[in-house]
């Protein structure tokens, strides 16, 4: 069985550099053979929200297709696919109360609803855990 890492994310998307960095870490961990467990707390529950829409960008002078605007739910799905291709486990749990606060209920297939007890379980099942809080 492959070793697992747990990462807690807390930032909402489109606000800072930590989100992209966290996804880079997740991608690198999968490429190196780690299963992943992600606990999304507070604003991070919006990361797998499927209602996010890419947009054209008039300032860039690009159409919707040309702009190819990145959206985090696509990244979440891409990580899930990458894990499947490598026969690794990938678990994404959204804090349920945080989901309710934000109405962030429409999420990518495979993202689950849970509580801090899930985070504690994930940490116990992992060789290490990284917490990435908001600042």
């Amino acid at each position: 069985m492959n070793p697992a890492l747990t990462i807690l994310m807390m930032d909402a998307p489109y606000e800072q550099a930590r989100t992209a960095t966290a996804f880079r870490l997740l991608d690198a961990a999968l490429r190196r053979g780690f299963s992943l467990k992600v606990f999304a707390y507070e604003g991070a529950v919006s990361l797998p929200l499927t209602l996010q829409k890419p947009h054209a960008n008039a300032v860039h002078g690009r159409t919707l297709e040309e702009e190819a605007h990145p959206t985090p739910p696509v990244w979440v799905s891409a990580l899930m696919q990458s894990a499947r291709e490598r026969d690794l486990e990938f678990e994404w749990v959204n804090c349920g109360l945080c989901v309710d606060e934000r109405g962030a209920t429409e999420v990518v297939a495979g993202a689950k609803r849970g509580s801090p007890a899930d985070f504690w379980r994930m940490a116990g099942e992992s060789v290490n855990t990284l917490v990435i809080p908001t600042r």
Binding site: F119, W120, A123, V131, T134, R135
Partner: protein
Amino acid sequence: MRVLQIIEPAHRATLEEQDDTVLWFTRAIRAAGAEADVLFVGSAVSYAARGQDATGFEVGAWKQRHPPALEHEIAKLIESGARVSVLREDLIERGLDPEAMLPNVGTTSARQLGALLGQYDRVWKW
């Protein structure tokens, strides 16, 4: 597995959440069996000061009925068996008296920090 939760930012969404989100999280994982303690550093050392009052938040006709009660939340955390401490240098830097903290909140110095961290299997910095 023993865990130390180091909390640095203070009053991050405390009015909206009616609590500090990391204190709340710590109480939740302790209820799930975690041996989690707390160390306040930076601006969060103010959480350990006595006499905090977050009442009075009003927006138009709306008035907050249950403001955050951090003294109470910290007391409940300690009641559950958690060790709660603050970094002495960060208290002094902010003009807070290390002798006037909430009951049962300890202080630790920067020089003792290494030994403190060594007591834990995981250290999570928030």
